[in-house]
Amino acid sequence: MKKEDTVKLISAEGFEFVIDKNAAMVSQTIRNMLTSPGDFAETEHQEVTFPEISTTILEKICQYFYWSLQYASGKETEFHIEPELTLELMMAANYLHT
């Protein structure tokens, strides 16, 4: 995987998730951050920090990105969400427009 095809997402606790750019683009918010014109740090280094999103939730979000790509290409599986994560995940999803 080439470096320019990946992005780094950093959680509130500082954990780094390196994922495919395509997957991250599922989120409208991340897409805007990475593609917006101008000298933003996010655009330049291809990494985004989320001080509001915990590691557990960010991991789940990344899983969702990949699941969503698979789903779009016709693979119909269920995306399981643990009830105890629903609230936090809901807020993160709302913020990320996924």
Binding site: I61, Y64, S68, F79, H80, I81, E82, P83, E84, T86, L87, E88, L89, M90, M91, A93, N94, H97, T98
Partner: protein
């Protein structure tokens, strides 16, 4: 009830699919709720639109109970509990503690009484309150509301509030929308409200208000919506701000008083509803407002004969003249204001095919036409086909026969989506041309001349979503080899008395996406979704469901002579079109 949450989700707030999945997962079961309900700090941070979606989803999943409401008290601004029979004083106690509640709808919550409203007193942000049809709410309940100074919208239609209660409302100075329909209130109540100068929307249908009370309406300079249906008001004072007026079922002498100078502002009405009204002199009644902007006019069932007053109403988009005594001579007046018409209802009038001929060519924008129960015949169809924008045609209960492929011309209407041909003497060969209607999505047929052949024709109407083919002589074999169009969602076979239960169930099994209606299938889908509470309410009002079903079944054999019945016994073989007879109908 599921509709509420759908409406909210469709409101555009929650287009995020993951948010939707989270809400589904969070409301999966009572156990799932237990997993998150103690995450207090997270709950407090939840944005209001997410919290509201979650709350209403819990409600529709029947997982919401009063003490669970507490978790939402810091973020929910809008609560819609309409029609929930479980909502009572305990719910109100929790709702009263919501810090930022802006809008509360508890209409038709029959357990809400006046003392239940006590918990709401003193709320700081409540602006919209709907208590319509809470029949146990009376004047005492109004007293509790008086401490909510922020109220702008108050709906108390069909409650037990009286003139005394309404008089109290005069202290809620911010009120701009007030619905008092169906209350026994008198002129005194209306006069006491004259201090509410912000009033824009007033609904007092069915009250005992008279001309005397109506005369104080001039005190409301911003009033734009007024509903006086079923009252004794016959003359209105001049109210220049009114744009939407409903005086259905009144006896009208004059809309607005007139007798003013030319310099005075005349009201520019946009919407006027006068259904079931009796006029003293219709031309005079219409002479004191400016009709130039009038786009919606409902004059159904008003015993009108003369439509010459229409001439000045050039902006009309919606016109309902159903149930009047008008004939073809009146159609010229409609044609003269046809330039902007989009919807026209002429059902139950004396308009004939010739009248439709006058109309065609003058209504370029007409999308919906209803001519049901008029004496029109196939000739009218050829005129209707000349109205280019039509999307919906209703010719129910007319003499349209469909002979000589008379319906074929409707194929020229590129936007036609809805067609109602019920209760016409339509035969199979008349149905044939319908198979070529490209955009048709809703078709209603009801004729005892139709057979399996019609059903076969309809297979090729590719866009069809709902099909109703009632009282037809459809046979089991016909249903078995019916290949429904791909998007069909609902099939109404009510009154097709030759069908058996087995055939219908096997059809349902083969096509699970299609909802069938027939006397032999009780609506088990619906029964599954309605709550036990709702069914109990329904049961109270109707007699036992079994009894209802029995009365709905008529012995269709009554319609036929003995000889016809005997010949029909073998009909199922003969009726099936030849194309399919080879494969499915080989007689044993």
């Amino acid at each position: 009830m599921a509709d509420h949450s759908l409406v909210i989700e469709a409101g555009g707030e929650l287009e995020s699919p993951l948010v939707r999945r989270c809400i589904e997962a969070a409301t999966q079961s009572a156990d799932a709720v237990e997993m998150w309900r103690r995450q207090r700090r997270t709950l407090e941070r939840l944005p209001s639109q997410l919290a509201e979606a979650l709350l209403h989803r819990l409600l529709s999943r029947r997982l919401l109970y009063p003490s669970l409401l507490e978790v939402f008290k810091y973020n929910v601004e809008k609560v819609d509990l309409r029609g929930e029979s479980s909502v009572d004083a305990e719910w109100m106690a929790y709702l009263g503690a919501f810090h930022f509640l802006y809008s509360l709808n508890v209409s038709e919550c029959h357990r809400i009484n006046s003392s239940a409203l006590w918990s709401l007193s003193g709320m700081n942000h409540l602006k919209e309150m709907d208590l319509s049809r809470c029949s146990k709410v009376n004047d005492a309940g109004i007293k509790h509301l008086l401490s909510i100074r922020t109220i702008e919208t108050l709906c108390i239609s069909e409650t037990s509030v009286t003139t005394n209660g309404v008089t109290l409302l005069s202290s809620l100075k911010k009120i701009s929308k007030l619905e008092l329909g169906g209350l026994f209130i008198t002129d005194t109540a209306l006069v006491s409200l004259r201090v509410l100068t912000n009033l824009q929307h007033l609904d007092i249908w069915g009250s005992d208000v008279t001309n005397e009370g109506a005369s104080i309406l001039v005190k409301f300079p911003n009033l734009n919506f007024l509903n006086l249906a079923w009252t004794k008001v016959t003359v209105l004072p001049n109210l220049p701000s009114i744009t939407c007026l409903n005086m259905s079922n009144c006896t009208i002498h004059s809309i607005f008083k007139g007798g003013f100078n030319d310099n005075d502002n005349k009201a520019t009405l946009k919407k006027l509803i006068l259904s079931g009204t009796s006029f003293k002199d219709v031309t005079k009644a219409f002479s004191y407002f400016d009709p130039i902007c009038l786009s919606f006019l409902d004059l159904s069932n008003s015993s009108l004969r003369d439509l010459s007053f229409l001439l000045s109403m050039k902006a009309l988009e919606n016109l309902d003249l159903s149930g009047n005594l008008i004939g073809d001579d009146s159609v010229e007046f409609i044609a003269s204001v046809g330039a902007n018409l989009e919807t026209l209802n002429l059902s139950n009038t004396r308009v004939t095919s010739a009248g439709v001929g006058i109309l065609a060519g003058h209504v370029p924008k007409l999308e919906t036409i209803s001519l049901s129960s008029t004496p029109i015949d196939d000739l009218a169809i050829s005129y209707i086909a000349m109205i280019p924008s039509l999307k919906a045609i209703d010719v129910k209960a007319t003499y349209v026969t469909g002979v000589d492929s008379s319906l074929e011309v409707l194929g020229n209407l590129k936007n036609l989506e809805k067609l109602n041909l019920e209760e016409t003497p339509l035969k199979d060969e008349g149905v044939g041309p319908i198979s070529n209607f490209k955009k048709l999505s809703h078709l209603s047929l009801r004729s005892s001349f139709l057979t399996d052949v019609s059903l076969q024709y309809l297979t090729s109407v590719t866009k069809l979503k709902t099909l109703s083919i009632r009282d037809a002589i459809l046979t089991s074999a016909g249903i078995d080899c019916f290949n429904p169009p791909p998007f069909l969602k609902s099939l109404d076979l009510t009154g097709c008395w030759l069908l058996t239960k087995d055939v219908i169930f096997s059809f349902v099994e083969r096509h699970p996406g299609i909802k069938i209606r027939h006397e032999l299938v009780c609506d088990f889908e619906e029964a599954k979704h309605t709550s036990p509470l709702q069914t109990s309410v329904r049961r109270r009002f109707s007699s036992s469901p079994l009894k209802y079903e029995m009365s709905a079944i008529i012995d269709e054999r009554l319609k036929y002579s003995r000889a016809e019945l005997l010949s029909m016994q073998f009909a199922s073989m003969a009726i099936v079109p030849p194309s399919d007879s080879g494969m499915s109908m080989s007689p044993e």
